[in-house]
Symmetry: C2
Amino acid sequence: MAEDISNFLRQVSVPDKFEATRSELNGFVERQKQKGRLVVLVTSGGTKVPLESRTVRFLDNFSSGTRGASSAEYFLQEGYAVIFLHRSRSMRPFLRHFSSLNYLDLLEFKNSTDSRSQIQVKENFEKMVGSQLQKHQSAVSDDRLLGVEFQTLSEYLQLLHAACQAVNNMNNKAMLYLAAAVSDFYIPKEQMPEHKIQSGDGPLQLSLEMVPKMLQPLVKEWVPDAFVVSFKLETDQELLVKKAQQALAKYCHQVVVANLLETRKKEVIVVTKDTHKAIKLTDGQLDSGVEIEEHIIKELLTTHSDFIHNRPAL
Amino acid sequence: MAEDISNFLRQVSVPDKFEATRSELNGFVERQKQKGRLVVLVTSGGTKVPLESRTVRFLDNFSSGTRGASSAEYFLQEGYAVIFLHRSRSMRPFLRHFSSLNYLDLLEFKNSTDSRSQIQVKENFEKMVGSQLQKHQSAVSDDRLLGVEFQTLSEYLQLLHAACQAVNNMNNKAMLYLAAAVSDFYIPKEQMPEHKIQSGDGPLQLSLEMVPKMLQPLVKEWVPDAFVVSFKLETDQELLVKKAQQALAKYCHQVVVANLLETRKKEVIVVTKDTHKAIKLTDGQLDSGVEIEEHIIKELLTTHSDFIHNRPAL
């Protein structure tokens, strides 16, 4: 299994600026370690899988990255340093609160000439923008947030591997929060047409291979001492807890957060080897803007803290 | 053929707020008509095709929407009113110039307390933001830009149909600039699994049907008097002009803009029934920030103007 993923990683091309990103990751983790902080690696958004070498078409996964981006905010709030490994153009911490707006509509020219700035945030958006800007600035100035972007499945897996190599240095003080929606299938390079698939040739038959499971080598080899949280998104209630327990038995990690596509914003089940705990928001909580990620992160904080005490670093 | 697309449209579910959007489109076009303006419908970005009814996975097309968004800007500059039918979260006119930045990094809190605003654009971004903000505000205050968003193929086709019904009212003063990257393939509802495809079941076999061609009914029935520009994106130079000419012969519209994936930002061929004209940027032009869309739109402006004079409105 670990060999499968190593083979996969050897076959794919290296992301742009890979070595620079690796240095950034290592430097960031080293600084957090010196400050005695906990570090969480949050993965977020879907992965693209090309169907052609010169890619016009690709397979993608449903994910706007909202869960990852909001979780990153709550981890920051709880004192963690966050590596945010996200799909480019998916939701980002703090910025996500304006994603339904055209950002230019937040701004206006000033009438007065008494000060330097000519462009300001409109009065009616000032409170909302100010509150997020403050949190964003404080995460940046505290050196507690590092963003890393991916687009394709292969970029994701390579950057995940590099990030794991960096956080492994934190032993049990590292958490992995694997919220990205990673494709299960891909087309191997040697089976991929070079040019755009021609639509004149009739219906399209695609045959996709399974992506080697990365969770097993990740848990056993990449970050053997870390606290690992994976996600299960299903559309079928019947399969939910059963598949979460199967995953824990198979990969031997600490937590699966299980959720259904339709109810994922108001209900999840946090599954560990011995327990499962439902977290639900009431309609009242939802209406007043409470986010389920705040409760998920509080629950994981406790579980991670227990984990650190019960399994001391080597 | 026209029946195919009608059947397709009947089978799919209606986008959110479809009737409200239709009214907006009709109202927008009516106001432009009263002001004697030309109207262009610009489509932009890729279309999503679901692989499951409760969608976790989908097929997508390569497109950030840069061509559509920049073209919309140049159409506005040339005096057109623009309906911008775009994939949600793809590039938007004016805003696209900051897409590589985290928008929160453009802003800062003010130190002084002498004026109302607490949040301003940082000095080093002021010129860049100001120039785009001005153009954005002027398009909005002149009532010359209407944005409409889609995500899936079926939303795209339905909104395109509604937009065509609105602009048909402009006769030959309407241009259609079909820059969206529309999927050629889809999975019909009755062949789609309800639940998430399980990865434990081994390699994935997909069979996709061809999407009925919408260009023929669009040209012949939806907007019979309008000036229609379609795009051909290929990866193979050999096929390029030949496929453009085939499309013109088949669909009887006015222009195909043909381009290769790799060189699309510096070279296109504008193909009409009797002519084809290459538009190329030099490296010097590219380096100084000239965009090929400016030249494409200037060329189309002339061709549209000739079309209006040679084919008077009924």
